[in-house]
C-alpha cells in the first residue's frame, strides 16, 4: 500500500470512528446530565461530601462550587507535590520546588497539563496517579459541568437555576469518564502501554552494558490524559514515549480518545435543546476547521515547506517517531492543539514553519474544533452567540439564539469571554519578550524563538499544555507567570459563561418568526466559521506574523 493511501485511510478511519460514536455517546452524556434519579454510588458520594444532591443552584452558587473545588484542588496538589518525598512509591524523588509545584498544580487543575518538569526524573508513582491523574478526571468533568449549565441556560425558561455542580461533577466522573477510561486503559495495556509499579530497573543491553528501564502505572493515566483532553505525559517525551504510545494502533486510538467526548458533545447540546439539527450545525463547523487544519499541517510536513533542515535531511523526520511517520504525527499534532489536550507524539518545535504555526493558530482559535471536554463546546457556543449578534446587526433586528434574546447584558458576557484569552496571551508574551532574562530562555534563534514564547503563552492561556519545548520554562518567572496565565485563562471565561447561563435561563423564550435567523442551516455554518476565523484569527495576526509567518516567508 502506498504511503499516501495509508495516510488517507488513517484519517478516514478516524472520522468514521468519531461519526459512529457521535450519537450514542452524545445521547448518553445528555441522559447522564438530565436523568432525574441518582445512582446509589452517587448518593454515597453526596453524603460523604456533605452536599444536597437534590438542590438546584443559581449560576452564582454553581460558580462558587466550581471555584471552591478548583481552589481546594490547587492547594491539595501543591501540598502533594511539596511532600511527595514522604509518601509511598516516591522512588526517592525529592519534593518539587515551590514555584514549579504551583505551576504544576495550576496546570493540572485547569486541564492544561503544561509541564515544566520531566516526569521520569521528578515524580514518584503515587503523586502521578493519586495527584495528577485525579485532576485529569475531575478537571475534564468540571469543563463538561460548566457547559451543561450553559445549555440549561438556553433550554430553561424564567428560572434562576442552572443545575447542581456537585451532581454534575459526580455523574460525569462516575458514569462517563471512569467506565470509558477503564475499558480503554485495558485496550492500551494490551497494546503495550505499561501498567506496573516498578521503579527504574537496570537491565542488561543487547550489545553489553546496562540500560535503566522505567516503570509506572502508565496505561491508567495515559487513557484519561487523552479522554479528558488533559495531555500531561507520564514521561517527558509524552505520547512519543514508547511506553505511553508503543505502536501506530495505540497512537490512532489516542487521537480518537482525545477527540471523542468533545466531538460528541454537540449531540448532547442538540438533544438537550430538543433539536438535533443545532448539534449538527455546531459539529459541522468543528469538522470543517479540523479538516482544514489537519490538511495544512500534513501538507507542510510532507513537503518540508520552508524548512532547510527538512530539505537537508530529505524529510521532516526530526522529532518524529518512525513507527508513526509523518501522516499520523501531523494528525496527532493538529488534533491535540484543536482540543485542549496538548499531548504530543512528536516535537512541534521541529515542525515546518507553517505546520508549527498552524498548531499555534489552532490553540488561538480558542480550542473549539472540537476543543477541550466541555470547554470546546462552551467556547464555540459563545462564538455562535457572537455570530448571531453580527447577523442581527446586519439586518437590524434583536438577535436571538435558540429562542433567547441576545441583549446588551448577554453580549457583554460573550465579549468579555472573547477578550480575556487574547489579553492574557499577548500581555504575557509581550512581558516575556521585554525581559532580557526570559527572552534568553529561547532555544532557537530568530522568529522561531519568538514562536516558542508565543506558543508557551497561547498554550497556557488556552489550557492546552503542549509546547515548542525548546523554551527553557523551568524558572521561577516562567513557572509563576504561566501558572497565573493558566488560572486566568481557565476561570475568567468560566465566570462569563456561567453568568451568561444565568442571564439566559431567566428569559422567557421568544417565538420563532419569519425574521428569526435559522441556526441549523449551512448558511449559519458558514457564518459561524467566518466569525471564528475573523474575530479570533485577526486578533492574533500581528503576533503570528512576527513568528511563524516571518519564518515561513524568509
Amino acid at each position: 500500500m502506498s504511503g499516501t493511501l495509508a495516510g488517507w485511510l488513517q484519517v478516514l478511519a478516524l472520522v468514521a470512528a468519531l461519526a459512529l460514536s457521535y450519537r450514542p455517546l452524545g445521547d448518553y452524556i445528555a441522559h447522564v446530565l438530565t436523568a432525574p434519579r441518582h445512582l446509589r454510588a452517587e448518593r454515597l458520594v453526596h453524603r460523604l461530601a456533605g452536599v444536597d444532591g437534590d438542590a438546584d443552584q443559581r449560576w452564582s452558587a454553581y460558580l462558587r462550587g466550581v471555584l471552591a473545588f478548583s481552589a481546594v484542588s490547587v492547594l491539595f496538589l501543591y501540598g502533594f507535590l511539596r511532600l511527595q518525598n514522604h509518601l509511598l512509591l516516591s522512588l526517592g524523588r525529592p519534593p518539587m520546588p515551590p514555584a514549579q509545584s504551583f505551576n504544576t498544580a495550576a496546570s493540572f487543575v485547569t486541564n492544561t497539563n503544561w509541564q515544566s518538569y520531566s516526569g521520569e526524573a521528578a515524580l514518584g508513582h503515587l503523586v502521578q496517579m493519586a495527584g495528577l491523574a485525579v485532576q485529569n478526571f475531575v478537571s475534564a468533568a468540571v469543563g463538561i459541568a460548566v457547559v451543561a449549565a450553559l445549555i440549561r441556560g438556553f433550554t430553561r425558561k424564567e428560572t434562576d437555576r442552572v443545575g447542581n455542580f456537585w451532581v454534575d461533577l459526580t455523574r460525569i466522573v462516575l458514569r462517563v469518564l471512569l467506565p470509558l477510561a477503564f475499558v480503554f486503559a485495558i485496550v492500551l495495556a494490551a497494546g503495550g502501554v505499561i501498567q506496573n509499579f516498578h521503579g527504574a530497573e537496570s537491565i542488561p543491553a543487547v550489545a553489553g552494558g546496562h540500560q535503566s528501564v522505567t516503570g509506572g502505572p502508565v496505561a491508567s493515566q495515559e487513557v484519561i490524559k487523552e479522554l479528558g483532553t488533559n495531555g500531561g505525559g507520564f514521561y517527558n517525551a509524552n505520547s512519543a514515549h514508547p511506553f505511553e504510545n508503543p505502536n501506530a494502533f495505540t497512537n490512532w486510538l489516542e487521537i480518537y480518545l482525545l477527540l471523542v467526548i468533545s466531538a460528541a458533545l454537540p449531540r448532547t447540546f442538540g438533544r438537550m435543546a430538543g433539536d438535533h439539527r443545532q448539534g449538527y450545525a455546531i459539529v459541522a463547523v468543528m469538522a470543517l476547521i479540523w479538516a482544514a487544519s489537519v490538511a495544512v499541517v500534513t501538507v507542510t510536513e510532507l513537503h518540508s515547506v520552508s524548512s532547510q533542515a527538512g530539505h537537508a535531511a530529505g524529510g521532516m523526520t526530526e522529532g518524529k517517531e518512525r513507527r508513526f511517520g509523518i501522516w499520523a504525527s501531523a494528525l496527532f499534532a493538529a488534533s491535540t492543539t484543536l482540543t485542549s489536550t496538548g499531548a504530543v507524539d512528536s516535537a512541534h518545535d521541529s515542525y515546518a514553519p507553517f505546520g508549527g504555526g498552524m498548531t499555534i493558530f489552532n490553540m488561538m482559535l480558542g480550542e473549539i474544533a472540537p476543543g477541550g471536554t466541555g470547554s470546546g463546546l462552551y467556547g464555540i457556543l459563545i462564538l455562535a452567540v457572537v455570530a448571531v449578534f453580527v447577523a442581527g446587526l446586519m439586518v437590524g433586528r434583536t438577535p436571538e439564539y435558540l429562542g433567547k434574546k441576545l441583549r446588551g447584558r448577554e453580549m457583554k458576557f460573550a465579549s468579555l469571554y472573547i477578550l480575556t484569552t487574547p489579553a492574557v496571551v499577548l500581555v504575557g508574551a509581550g512581558l516575556a519578550m521585554a525581559l532580557p532574562g526570559e527572552r534568553a530562555g529561547m532555544l532557537n534563534p530568530g522568529p522561531h524563538g519568538f514562536s516558542e514564547v508565543l506558543y508557551a503563552f497561547t498554550s497556557a492561556a488556552n489550557n492546552n499544555g503542549s509546547a515548542f519545548a525548546g523554551l527553557g520554562v523551568d524558572t521561577v518567572w516562567y513557572n509563576t507567570a504561566l501558572g497565573l496565565v493558566m488560572l486566568f485563562g481557565r476561570f475568567l471565561p468560566m465566570v462569563f459563561v456561567l453568568a451568561l447561563a444565568g442571564s439566559l435561563a431567566g428569559q422567557a423564550p421568544v417565538p420563532v418568526t419569519a425574521g428569526t435567523l435559522p441556526t441549523h442551516r449551512p448558511q449559519f455554518v458558514g457564518l459561524l466559521t467566518a466569525v471564528v476565523l475573523i474575530v479570533v484569527g485577526l486578533t492574533y495576526f500581528p503576533a503570528l506574523s512576527l513568528g511563524p509567518l516571518a519564518e515561513g516567508l524568509q
Partner: protein
C-alpha cells in the same frame, strides 16, 4: 454541625471532601483495578515488553538502545559514543537512549545548528556504511521525538547490511535475509509506517554465529 458554618466555608469543606472521595476512587482504586486486569491478562505488555535471550532479559523491544564501541575512558561522561560497526545502528537520539532523559532535540526547522548536524550526520553515516551521501535516508540523520525510538526505516536497515556483514564475516545475503525477516508492515496494513526494530534485529543478529 456544618450547618452553623458560613456558606463559603461549607462550600470549601464540601469541595475538599468530594476531592478526597475522587482521589480514592480515581486515584487509587481505578489504577489498582487496571493494574490487576493488565497484570493478569497481559503481563508481558504491562511489564514493558521485555526481550529475553537464553533466559536473560535484554531490555525492552519498545525502547531503543545504543550499539556503541566500549568507551576508551569509561569514567568520562563527556566522551562521545562511537558506533560499533558490528551492529545495526539506531537513529540519532537527543538523550543518548537514556530512558531517564527522554525527549526530542526541539531544534527549529531552520535552526542552523540542526541543518549543520543533519549534514554532518549524513557525511558520517555515508562514510561509516560505505554508501553515497544521497543514499542515506532521512531517519538516519534526524533524532526521534522520544529519544528512545527503537525503529528505523527498512531503507536504513538495508543500507547497513554490507557494513554489518563485513564486520561480522557473514555473507551479505544472510544479513539481508535477516533484515527482510524483521521488516514490519504498517499496523493493520494502513496505520503508521513500515519499520525495522533495531533492538530485535540486533538480538537476532547476536544469535547468528
Amino acid at each position: 454541625m456544618t450547618r452553623s458554618l458560613p456558606t463559603a466555608v461549607r462550600t470549601h469543606l464540601s469541595a475538599l471532601r468530594i476531592l478526597l472521595v475522587f482521589t480514592v476512587v480515581t486515584g487509587v482504586l481505578y489504577p489498582l483495578a487496571v493494574t490487576g486486569v493488565a497484570q493478569g491478562a497481559f503481563p508481558h505488555e504491562a511489564n514493558g515488553s521485555r526481550i529475553t535471550r537464553h533466559g536473560t532479559v535484554m531490555g525492552s523491544s519498545l525502547i531503543g538502545q545504543n550499539f556503541a564501541l566500549p568507551k576508551a575512558h569509561p569514567g568520562d561522561p563527556g566522551e562521545p559514543l562511537r558506533p560499533d560497526p558490528a551492529w545495526f545502528q539506531p537513529r540519532p537520539s537527543a538523550g543518548g537512549y537514556d530512558p531517564l532523559a527522554t525527549g526530542a532535540s526541539n531544534l527549529g526547522p531552520n535552526n542552523p545548528v540542526l541543518v549543520r548536524s543533519v549534514e554532518a550526520r549524513r557525511a558520517a553515516v555515508a562514510r561509516f556504511d560505505g554508501v553515497a551521501p544521497r543514499d542515506v535516508p532521512a531517519d538516519a540523520v534526524t533524532a526521534s521525538g522520544s529519544g528512545l525510538d527503537p525503529h528505523i526505516s527498512p531503507g536504513y536497515a538495508y543500507e547497513q547490511v554490507n557494513r554489518v556483514a563485513k564486520t561480522r564475516g557473514l555473507r551479505p545475503a544472510t544479513v539481508h535475509a535477516l533484515v527482510t525477516a524483521h521488516v514490519e508492515d504498517r499496523v493493520l496494513g494502513f496505520l503508521g509506517e513500515r519499520r525495522v526494530n533495531v533492538v530485535q534485529l540486533n538480538a537476532a543478529l547476536a544469535d547468528h554465529r
